[in-house]
Amino acid sequence: MEIKKSVFLIAFLITAFLLITILFLGNILNSQRKTAVEDKMTIISDLNDVQTYSLLSSVYGEKLACLAFNSKLAAWDQTLWKLGVKLEQYRVATEEFAKDPFYLQQKTTFNENEVLYMAFLTKAKKECNLSQTVISFYYKKAEVCPKCDDQSFVLSDIKRELGDGVSIFSYDDDLNITSISLLQKYYDIKEYPCVVINEKPFCGIRDKSFIESRINI
């Protein structure tokens, strides 16, 4: 049987077509991930209300702060956490060859609003006697801080187990967000990872039992 040279070319074209199809499928997945993130990020616009509630509570007192928290803000906690997790997972799934600026932008916006929400939550906790534990977690990228990954893993476990009983906010130091830098100065954070549990900073890796014991105090 005589094999024509064109067969090799046809095979090449078919393979190239398959590769392009996969790249195309990958792009569809990437854009679906972005759409999903954008949809979920609409919660951020709701967080603008936090500023209003904050202002109202400073004018009308703690009763209004508690009303505001119980009526709407408490439900946001779980959503925010899930959004943070998804944002990270989708970023990892998307970035095969280069960092995607979309996720960097979304993460920055997300972190900025987390600070806002955490501030109001801390205030509501004091004024409304909430039993909610507030944890903020300050980290750097894994190449600089390998233990940061370990700490994130422990906190994910804790959130999974305690659910609404604990609010955890993760702050990426590498994003250079002014409000986060301010909080780090306030808590005198110089070492990473660092967790602030109910306003007490604990820097260096902390295991699950340590954090659980601090939550229960």
């Binding site: 790249l23 799934a93 060859f97 893993f153 422990v154 476990d157 699950k208």
Partner: protein, 412 residues
């Protein structure tokens, strides 16, 4: 590291897919030629000598002899060469060939290895064509009427046949059985379309004696003499044909350990053969053969590098996860519970992997259908075929190490 790994992954995927697409395309184009039957139109049956080297084949050799007695070809002789067997092979052969003039028994006390036995047999053979077969293999009665006609073409120096597995019992045997159906039958036929056959399988192949003499017979220093001779046939610009309709049934090593030893010999032998005939690689003088062989081994090496790097990445991630767990009292259960199914978490590389897996099964099923294999009876082998992917890497890895280590590879 990840960027380099991903680029490499896409590159290897492209080459491997190109190879498979090429094979599928050739199967499609040559679908009529796959089952070609060359008419036996000799006025007189050409004389054929069948050489069967045997080493410690007591209990098995009588089945081979019985299958030879049923062969429908009159102008034939069977030369059994005992290669210094230490068991009752000699006695069993004598008992079973008694009174049959077609059988010749060479009971050599010295162990010369398989190639040496074949060469001794060739020296005694009177046939125009020489068939070689393993002592534990069984041929179908009409095999010579199917294979000998290919020699009408004077450029054909050898004819390979479909190598199938006899009575696969264990899980591994059932998986390897399918590999034989695809690799040692269908693919050899496809390779023959462009004169790219790189092995004349040991269980049964038939050669033109004049060519065997011209190229110097089998290489006694090779542990894969069936592959080495195929390279030399190609080097001398002869053709190796493949008759898919003719079948030989062989038995597989019964245990995984023995399969590993066999594969290590095969693959180490393949590497040494390649090194011996490196001048053929990418050499236009030898037609497409040198390019196909080069591409084949390039894929094997790149695949192995990809496999090792994937293993390294996978293992380091697993270690990381275990190290994470030490901070949460090794609470694995809650970790497993938290796993969620979200198709948006699939990266492009994962899609690539899933498609490759589906593609492998597609090729496997296509091959089995073409080979008229009853798929319903091969469920275990089909499902277990995924194991082959890992086993190939393992066998190649240990074989490369053995060759690099310079350890002597024994035929047995």
């Amino acid at each position: 590291m990840n960027v380099v790994y991903n680029i490499f992954l896409y590159f290897v995927w492209f080459l491997a897919t190109y190879y498979v697409v090429m094979m599928l395309l050739l199967i499609f184009i040559g679908r009529k030629a796959l089952r070609e039957k060359v008419k036996f139109d000799f006025k007189k049956e050409p004389f054929v000598s069948v050489i069967i080297p045997a080493y410690n084949e007591e209990g098995k050799i009588r089945h081979t002899i019985n299958s030879l007695k049923k062969v429908k070809y009159d102008n034939i002789e069977f030369i059994i060469v005992s290669d210094g067997s230490k068991d009752g092979t000699g006695r069993e052969v004598r008992e079973n060939i008694k009174g049959n003039p077609k059988f010749i028994f060479i009971d050599r006390k010295e162990n010369k290895g398989k190639a040496g036995s074949l060469n001794d047999g060739i020296a005694k053979a009177r046939g125009e064509f020489i068939a070689t077969m393993d002592a534990d293999s069984v041929i179908e009665p009409g095999i010579f009427y199917k294979t000998v006609p290919y020699f009408k073409d004077p450029k054909v120096a050898a004819v390979a046949v479909s190598v199938l597995v006899k009575n696969p019992h264990s899980f591994f045997n059932k998986v390897f059985e399918l590999e034989y159906v695809i690799g040692l039958s269908l693919m050899l036929k496809v390779f023959s379309f462009f004169n790219g056959v790189f092995v004349t399988p040991g269980p049964f192949s038939i050669y033109r004696k004049s060519v065997l003499r011209e190229i110097g017979g089998f290489d006694p220093n090779s542990v894969t003499e069936d592959m080495e001779i195929a390279y030399r046939i190609q080097k001398h610009h002869y053709k190796i044909a493949m008759c898919m309709e003719a079948k030989v049934h062989t038995i597989l090593p019964p245990t995984f350990k023995k399969i590993t030893i066999q594969r290590r010999r095969w693959y180490s032998g393949a590497i040494l053969t390649l090194v011996k005939h490196k001048d053929m690689l990418l050499n236009k003088k030898h037609g497409i053969f040198g390019f196909v062989v080069f591409f084949n081994y390039l894929l094997i090496i790149l695949g192995l590098i990809l496999f090792i790097s994937s293993l390294y990445l996978g293992a380091s991630n697993a270690v990381k996860d275990v190290l994470h767990l030490r901070y949460s009292s090794f609470d694995l259960i809650s970790r497993i519970k938290s796993i969620e199914i979200d198709f948006l978490l699939l990266s492009r590389a994962t899609v690539l992997g899933i498609l490759s897996l589906l593609f492998t099964f597609f090729v496997l099923l296509t091959g089995l259908v073409i080979m008229r294999t009853d798929i319903t009876k091969k469920k275990i082998g089909i499902v277990g075929y995924i194991v082959m992917f890992f086993l190939y890497q393992y066998f190649w890895f240990i074989s490369i190490i053995k060759v690099i280590g310079g350890k002597k590879i024994k035929w047995r």
